[in-house]
Amino acid sequence: MEPVILVHGGAGAISDDAKAQELLAGVKGAAKTGYKVLTSGGGVVDAVEAAVRSMEDEEIFNAGLGSVLNLEGEVEMDASIMVGSDLSAGAVTVVKDIKNPISLARLVMDKTDHVLLAAEGAKKFAQLHKVVPLQPGALVTDASKKALAKWREKQVEASAELG
């Protein structure tokens, strides 16, 4: 079997061509990162985790650094991972201040018999496993703040239209 690593950087309108080029560069890099892990002795789980981590660390993607903001201006993230051999799986939801949620999801899979940990419990679990949370707000970027402000304006206009 020839190994393959396939990644995506998110589906959406993506009307800005410059952003489209940045996304393409990011997914190409992620595919190479994952493939390199796979072909230098790493397992397929290590490979998909590494590919996703590389995109979580790039601000252009809506995951990890540069995630979109909730209505309170905070980053809350979700992630999941699954292994085909034994259907083992791990996931986290509504986690804050965690640099790589996909690695925390993998810890849930490897270290617990749960499938999903949420919010404060997930953060405590992270600290238990030496995953040091970032300073609150560290994952918020200027771009995500601008995007939320623009979204709010649209909501106001829309409601105004309704009269």
């Binding site: 079997m1 393959v4 995506h8 292994v83």
Partner: protein, 134 residues
């Protein structure tokens, strides 16, 4: 949202997905991405899937598992991905995308949104795209 699916030289499969969620979401909103069977699925007997798009819709449609079941019924990775994304969009009137690997290493990429960035490496070749029909 970002995701990855992989197959190793022994045919072992894995899938991973991560997201910041949706613009303007309420605090505490959980998405399809953390739901096994909606955002992510992997089974060495069939294939591996990672999805992206309108999270509440993907969650209700169980998009990742729908693609797996379509392949189990004999559709190729590409057919299953295309058909399930289209069916979900028609049924629930919201858009999404997905990437799929079958347990034979076939690739499936489909999206009903305007664009979705994707890339895969197989041997020395790197394939990629963001617009339809690339």
């Amino acid at each position: 949202t970002v995701g990855a699916v992989g197959i190793d030289s022994d045919g072992g499969l894995a899938a991973a997905t991560s997201t910041g969620g949706r613009q303007g979401k309420l605090a505490g909103r959980s998405s399809d991405t953390c739901m096994i069977g909606s955002g992510t699925y992997a089974d060495d007997n069939i294939g591996a899937v990672s999805t992206t798009g309108h999270g509440e819709t993907i969650a209700k449609f169980c998009l990742a598992h729908s693609i797996i079941k379509a392949m189990e019924r004999g559709q190729s990775a590409e057919e299953a991905t295309q058909n399930c994304v289209e069916l979900m969009t028609k049924r629930l009137n919201n858009t999404a995308g997905a990437i799929t690997l079958s347990n034979r290493g076939e690739v499936g990429v489909a999206f009903s949104t305007n664009r979705m960035s994707w890339a895969y490496q197989k041997g020395d070749h790197l394939y990629f795209g963001i617009d339809k029909n690339e």
